[in-house]
Amino acid sequence: MKTWKVGLLFSETGATSIIERSQLHGALLAIDQINARGGVLGRPIEPVRYDPASVVTRYGELAEKLIVEDKISVIFGCYMSSSRKEVLPVVERRNALFFYPTLYEGFEYSPNVIYGGACPNQNSVPLANYLMNSFGKRIFFVGSDYIYPRESNRVMRNVLRQGGGEVTGEVYFGLHANADDFASVVDEIMQVKPDAIFSTVVGQSCIEFYKAYHAAGGNGRICPIASLTTNEGEIDAIGCEASAGHITAAPYFRTINSPANRRFLKAYEQKFGSTVDVTSCCEAAYSQVYMFARALEETGEIDTECLREALLGASFDAPQGQIKIDPDNNHTYLQSRIAKVDDNGEFVIEFKVRRSIKPDPYLVYPAIHDWSFRTMKVAGGESRHE
């Protein structure tokens, strides 16, 4: 039987495997569901997956392999920007279509990429507002040392400055930093006593950082670590005790109480046994596979030009709410929510932006007072009427 072959390029081992495995699961679940309903135009989607093992250069090599050896021209994959930059020239040269289900720092557009995660304008501004209003204006930055944290911090610094805030420190660590490496910065934080910490530490070291902060007496309820990347999977690994009170801004949280999300979580649990690793990036991968399948149904062939035409402007009722691919820039209109970890290690949604936010990947200086970023309080975690 003929199938529609798609490539999956998520690391199942290595530094960023927690999050990438969750993205892989999201994509696999969507493929399963679509195939269970008869596939696309009677043919099932067949995933071909490779594990780049969190090694940046492997992503480019494996993308090439998928395209050349497996004759696949639709690929879902990547978490870190550095890995996306490896895949980008390959998909452009071979004119393949690449779905990137991860938030990133913006300032990119390729006709061959559909960007499914948030750009800084979609989550940094609401988060900065929330931190300054709820905790105070002195913020300490800690990040992993690569492009995303540096650019996120630049945006954050600008938004804070506009609101009269102050950056009390800015420190970067390698991707494999462990508790010992974080000891000195945690000491510094204890001395400087900022109102909140903005963390862009990713992967395994993120877990180490939260634990180190907790071990040194840091209390999330008083001075939280706020992040755009720390999600359900990492909170689970950090543990309830050390993660209580910390804050994340994202388009999706597992605790959203909507029919679409309940259906998504139920199916996820049936397939993978538990929903502990469901994250916003997992949801983005899931939604992107669905959007691809819808487009394929329209075009009837895997052709980059036709698929792109069908995808641009398409909308989808995702678990997070309605999303839409912006035809101006291939990025996605997304919801924006801010959630706090409760005593049981679950995110409780505190604020959300009323409508999905238009992606603006080339925004140099987001304005703090832009009305579209205004958040509204969410009663009881998340409205029950969605």
Binding site: F107, D328, V364
Partner: protein, 199 residues
Amino acid sequence: MSDPIQDLRDLHALVVHPRDRSADELMQQVNRIGCNFDHFWPLPKTLPEKFDLVFIDVTDQSAHNLKSFIASSSKSPCIVAIIGYENPSVLNLIFEIDAHSVLMKPVRAAGVLSCMLMARRFQQEQLSFKKDLTKLREKLENMQKVNDAKFILMRHRGITEREAYDLIRRQAMAKRTTTTEIAQSILNAESILSNMGST
């Protein structure tokens, strides 16, 4: 100097390029970057004042037409040449029209932003160097004038250089004018007097 990155969205850009795939790619990217822009084709005679940055397809255009188009705006806008060939005659052309940066056809989205920024920075630097140069040149001329006037006074009155300068400065203060003005008057008078002597 203003910050080219910060001012990006205040720019008014113009694309002078036949309406094809390259032009579409370019305009869409300028739109994503968030600049106002207009499109003209064929090359018009004059360039409206409001444009800060102009992308021009220089293929098959004469240097003369391009230069007169660019010079028609008093604002001296930033010029990005779009070229289809990289041969010496095309490269000569972009030097001749003083382009600040270059984009190669087919235009793709990646690189447009950096190209705009490099062009802006180069142009702003050029403008500020030009301004500094004019200022320095004026200053040098003025110093030369004062020096010449000093020597005239020293010769006529048998005074020292210091005394000659003090004299010029006091005159300038009394008449509420600059030392350069006084020096110029002395030079004028000297030239009239010496001409009288020779007739």
